[in-house]
Symmetry: C2
């Protein structure tokens, strides 16, 4: 955690403290507390110090693990298990013990806690800017190394996926198609190679490299045309197969993110053009990445490549359902999606921002193509954290 | 989803509708919407109907997947990407379109949305009872089958873990200890067998059986005495090793949960007594499970076994840090921990409740023992969903 940056961003609060009530699932909480509590607990930033309040069951582990200045437990406020009212009484007592009569909470903080504190005379305001996001967006060297490590696992998993796809037989070509297996379906050890099978290979590889995972996308053909479709069923020759992997290090909890698009056999002329265009859009966007450039400008660089080729984007048609139908990228860290955004309205880039750059084209009649690299903004431009070839033909 | 039960529990709302603003990470949202949206979206229950409001990117998938009565997208309310104010304007327009001027939100709903709706004249109250939890607690047959399937994967993973532990050599006994490896350390293929290695085996097995996972506990010796310690480093002979696995089906999103405690070599007399006591506490608690019994009564049945043997519990000493220092169990479903609780104040059991029963004893000087089964409450008592032997000596 960048403590100076934290102090800077929380200095001008219009309240006595900044309050989080969340479990480790919440990235703000994990960042500010440094504690992997599985159940919601309180973290208070006040007067330049970070204070934790946890249950007795978590107390020992929180003392060892948390980066906070103080760690207290419920029993310190004479709380035994009781209902919600007693619990909020304890929270209010904890705040007042720290000299806090007013707090700011992030927009996704729990309304139950906010309203109950208000009933107890504590002033609660919503921090509409969610300012911890801006603090988290700029990574320390240690955080960048954590992301770099997760990306190494990601590359191993992508390699495993590509090998499985490249090594597949094609029904009706390498081996005869039969009544059960359509011509063109990819086969692995005689069975149809499915999205699920490739996903399993990816996820097992990630586990072997110390990463957990939420979801993985292995989507071919028309499925690849929906950027959020995770993919299912048999993969086929001559279609574009999008593989998008975003693993999380189990040790550090930091994420990486990379996408490649593969094809076995002969892609259509349109898919070939799309692949070339997308590679050029990636290069154009990367060229635009430097401190002081905005996320909007990087997004524009990718859009221009597509627009000049006549492909629709959200800039030329906000209603379009085909073409380049998402933003160019996003910050990544403890959350897979965090600040800054590479999109219309995207903020200015700073050294230490870790971002994805991931242009793509989509149309259910054609398929989908996306190529995504992971980079860190540096004083001089950017460093690409991705070490994986860009090639359409799986090998 | 049990629609009748939902209607019953939401009928007496003191508001026009019940509002969720969350992603699929929130179990209430996943339950009410039936949609696995990765970003927060709105679900409104009003006049006996469930309405979804999602982004354009999610619209196609939401229409196919969601169990809601209606699915709308942001563009239906003329919203293009804008700031937080425009977004809440859209939310208010969506609510008013459904004839809703007042909503109830669960306690962990986002305060940012609640306050912004209030600013727009929508009355927002907190549903302190979090009533969807009570709806979710009683499972349909389909939900029970989903949990049963996750438990099958769990049993395969436990088997893999037990085999790895049982098959280990003991340094200084089966093979010579040397300068690098302490006497008593378990060895697998010549390397120290660590908690991390066993966890990896468990997690890979779960993936092969279609389950994802959050955390797994493999904790030996003094680590096992902290019920929330996930365990790390080499495992040893003659110590109790707690293996607690709680996988989630990737297809259904329902969880299972099971704990076994294993030993290689000769456990101390105290550990042997603890194991026998814990097995008896489990039996006593299971005997108490039936419709109409309270979670408090089931917890009491386990506590009594321990208390009669002179072991401390939270009933005899609320401050104790050794003995039986957690509740006897919890409901399980889309969340690993949900209603009902088997603890002081625990509510009445109903047919369809799926619960864990998991007594244990802990002391850093001795180690930890926990045994956990997963059961469903039935008209006649309970059905045990767990099919795994209870034995201390790993085999």
């Amino acid at each position: 955690m960048n403590r100076t940056r934290l102090d800077d961003h929380l200095a001008d609060l219009d309240a006595d403290g900044y309050l989080l009530d969340a479990s480790q699932e919440d990235a703000n909480q994990l960042y500010l507390s440094g504690f992997t509590g599985p159940d919601p607990f309180l973290t208070l930033y006040a007067d330049g110090e970070v204070h934790l309040l946890v249950s007795g069951l978590e107390y020992g582990r929180a003392q060892t693990e948390a980066t906070a200045d103080t760690v207290e437990r419920h029993a310190d406020y004479d709380y035994e298990y009781g209902g919600r009212e007693e619990r909020t009484d304890m929270y209010a007592a904890f705040l007042r013990d720290k000299g806090v009569e007013s707090v700011s909470m992030p927009p996704r903080g729990p309304v139950g806690t906010a309203d109950a504190l208000r009933e107890r005379g504590i002033d609660v305001a919503v921090d509409a800017d969610d300012r911890l996001q801006a603090v988290r967006a700029v990574k320390t060297d240690e955080e960048i190394d954590a992301i770099r490590d997760a990306q190494k696992a990601n590359e191993a998993a992508m390699r495993a996926a590509e090998e499985l796809i490249a090594g597949a037989d094609v029904a009706g070509e390498d081996v005869p198609a039969d009544g059960d297996v359509e011509r063109g379906v990819l086969l692995h050890e005689g069975e149809p190679l499915t999205s699920e099978r490739v996903t399993e290979e990816i996820e097992v590889t990630l586990l072997r490299h110390g990463c957990a995972l939420d979801e993985t996308i292995v989507a071919g053909g028309a499925q690849a045309a929906d950027p959020h479709d995770r993919g299912s069923g048999p993969l086929r020759a001559n279609e574009a197969i999008i593989v998008d992997i975003f693993p999380r290090s189990k040790a550090t909890k930091y994420n990486a993110d990379m996408t490649r698009t593969f094809c076995v056999g002969e892609p259509s002329e349109t898919l070939r053009e799309w692949y070339d265009l997308t590679e050029r859009a990636l290069e154009a966007a990367l060229d635009a990445v430097e401190p002081g450039a905005t996320g909007e400008e990087v997004h524009a660089a990718a859009c221009e490549v597509y627009e000049e080729a006549g492909e629709p984007t959200f800039r030329t048609d906000p209603e379009t359902e085909t073409g380049f139908i998402h933003s160019t990228g996003h910050g990544i860290g403890l959350d897979v999606h965090e600040s800054p955004r590479l999109a219309s309205g995207g903020e200015e880039l700073e050294p230490g921002h870790v971002i994805t750059v991931e242009p793509g084209l989509y149309d259910p009649a054609v398929g989908g193509v996306r190529i995504e690299d992971l980079v860190v903004v540096t004083e001089g431009g950017y460093e690409n954290l991705t070490d994986y070839p860009i090639r359409f033909a799986a090998e």
